[in-house]
Symmetry: C2
Subunit: 365 residues, 2 copies
């Protein structure tokens, strides 16, 4: 059984293929589009990826509060549903790589050995401790990023989508800011298979908290093209809502279809932006002296869409060889390629870099 | 029954007296000691008072994480003890002005109507929600600071001293900083009366987490002069510890005794610093054109002690009339009077102001 999001149209199945990626990216290589971005004069946005997850365990309220204080423009929420139909903030529908669920409920895994959010009530999930993301091999757990917050220290818990919105809106009041939210509907096909309508529940909460129009401070994102269309064509009209939608993209046939068929024009009828991997924009094995930049951003901008690539990390091993450090990576994407915003685990560094660039530009004028 | 800390020596009873205050402060008025501070060339420190409590509910882990990210040098912990001997972080030994204890355990108050931490286990206290500080009159609850984080929003809990230390040390690792802690033993006489040795428990935890010597990043503070002496003369020597101690001061006879008898010299044999109210340093009704500054800082510096006054708030009504805004208040205390550090609910503003002043000074050199 597959739990990855699946398409309901024939040729648009998600299937990561590195060989295909290379074909797609090389064929898409264009001239170096310095300052070719359609939105270069608009404020670049910093999206805190799972919060300030470079400094605190991802998707905890503390990580979100720090992201807000560090100057993020938007804060991301990955959303999944519990057995009792509550929407919680967690990277995916498994509990076993960020909590102590194995210790607290050792027998509650499925046949594949994984612990599914959807098999637990909110109250049960609240009784767990959240840790820095880890991998477990032969019963030995190792943090994914060793230089980040130490494993299994302090005390963090899983929280609901409502609690996170109240945190962001509450800090907007106390800090005099207008930080937005960037929720993602995770694995809608899996949720549907389990009898849950996650998108409907998310839209209900968004409407309750005042996120209704495109001008409101929210982008709603999803990898599932069928679900994005359902939200756009069915759910939002039924609810009198019209939010900005972002189609996430990964290294897959789906992207190839969207690009090769001139599909960005069709995509733009539904989505306001795309969220591609950084490797779909700059080939990861580009030489530093001659970046191989794909046509992705140019095509998206031409279709009127914003581009918010993921994920900008400064951890050891996370910066492509073509970039001379984290700031150079930011510079390449924000000011050379010309993307409109970025997902980053280090919102302070991105916000500071954008501020310093704007300072330079205003001095030059 | 009084629960305020009491002295065990005759004349040194704590008793707030505004009339006495005026006598003491006016008699202490000296020449404007611009740059008279003993430690003017040393880095001024920002102590996050109950965390970044201007932006998030006080003493929550989120408020502490934000204080760390905002550049605080030290983060304060007020410490009290539960029925099952756990040390938790809470402003005082009552639960009813910052949690929903009245709703969850309506019958568990004492005769005075208050809900005491010491009557609840840690597990019970963890089941409560923490709110922005409020006052309840005729069953109507009103936030103390109306422009801060909204009342009863999102979800926060009480945590232990150990969990807070692990947060600070964990963020020190992930952010590459060395933020210190500034714990306060709250109401030791009350705890002793209830059969608890709070100071011993706090020292045990501090030692476990590596806070042992004066060079370690901790100041241990208390209002109770008898307890400060006990910690210095009995507990720390028994445990092979030698931490920096700070005697807190308030508008009371105690301060008068300490000053008039030349007692700062004796105090300095035990304490490394004092933590007075800002109103003991600058008379609150000073004209802006001619600040009436007491001799307190001069006397403390002469005795070799640091001075860390409390509390710097930018909220409406919290800035004395003599100061032209929050930054002016910071300037008066840090650079005119010359204190060594400040307790503030707004660590970002204080850190930014100190940084900007240092920038100006280095440009001038």
């Amino acid at each position: 059984m597959r739990y990855a999001p699946t398409m309901n149209t024939g040729p648009m199945r998600l299937k990561t293929s590195l060989a295909l990626l290379i074909v797609v990216l090389i064929s898409a290589c264009g001239a170096n589009p310095r300052n070719a971005g359609a939105a270069d004069n608009v404020q670049k946005i910093v999206i805190a990826h799972r919060g300030a997850s470079g400094y605190l365990p991802e998707h905890t309220l503390a990580a979100k509060a720090v992201a807000h204080a560090q100057g993020a423009d938007y804060i991301e929420q990955d959303l999944v549903m519990t057995r009792d139909d509550r929407v919680i903030v967690l990277h995916d529908h498994h509990l076993d790589q960020v909590t102590n669920v194995r210790d607290i409920f050792p027998d509650r895994h499925r046949e594949d050995g994984r612990f599914y959010v959807i098999d637990f009530t909110l109250e049960e999930i609240r009784s767990l401790s959240v840790f820095e993301r880890f991998e477990t091999v032969n019963e030995v757990s190792t943090p994914v990023f060793e230089d980040r917050f130490p494993f299994a220290k302090s005390h963090f818990e899983v929280h609901t989508f409502e609690e996170e919105i109240e945190l962001v809106q509450g800090m907007n009041k106390s800090m005099g800011r207008s930080v937005g939210i960037y929720p993602e509907i995770k694995s809608p096909a899996f949720h549907t298979h389990e009898g849950k309508d996650l998108s409907q529940a998310v839209l209900d909460i968004l409407k309750t908290y005042g996120y209704v129009e495109k001008s409101d401070r929210v982008y709603l994102q999803c990898f599932d093209w069928a679900e994005i269309r359902r939200i756009h064509n069915e759910l939002m009209p039924q609810m009198g809502m019209d939010l900005r939608l972002v189609q996430l993209l990964e290294l897959s046939e789906e992207f190839k279809q969207l690009r090769e068929d001139g599909a960005f024009v069709n995509l733009a009828k539904v989505a306001d932006g795309i969220g591609p991997s950084i490797h779909m924009i700059v080939e990861p094995d580009s030489p530093a002296t001659e970046l191989r930049i794909t046509k992705l951003v140019t095509l998206a901008h031409a279709a009127g869409m914003e581009v918010h690539p993921y994920t900008f990390r400064r951890d050891a091993g996370s910066i492509p060889d073509y970039a001379n450090g984290f700031e150079d990576l930011l510079d390449i994407f924000l000011y050379e390629v010309g993307v409109d915003g970025i997902f980053t685990d280090f919102p302070d560094l991105a916000a500071r870099y954008i501020e310093s660039r704007q300072g330079l530009e205003s001095q030059a004028q």
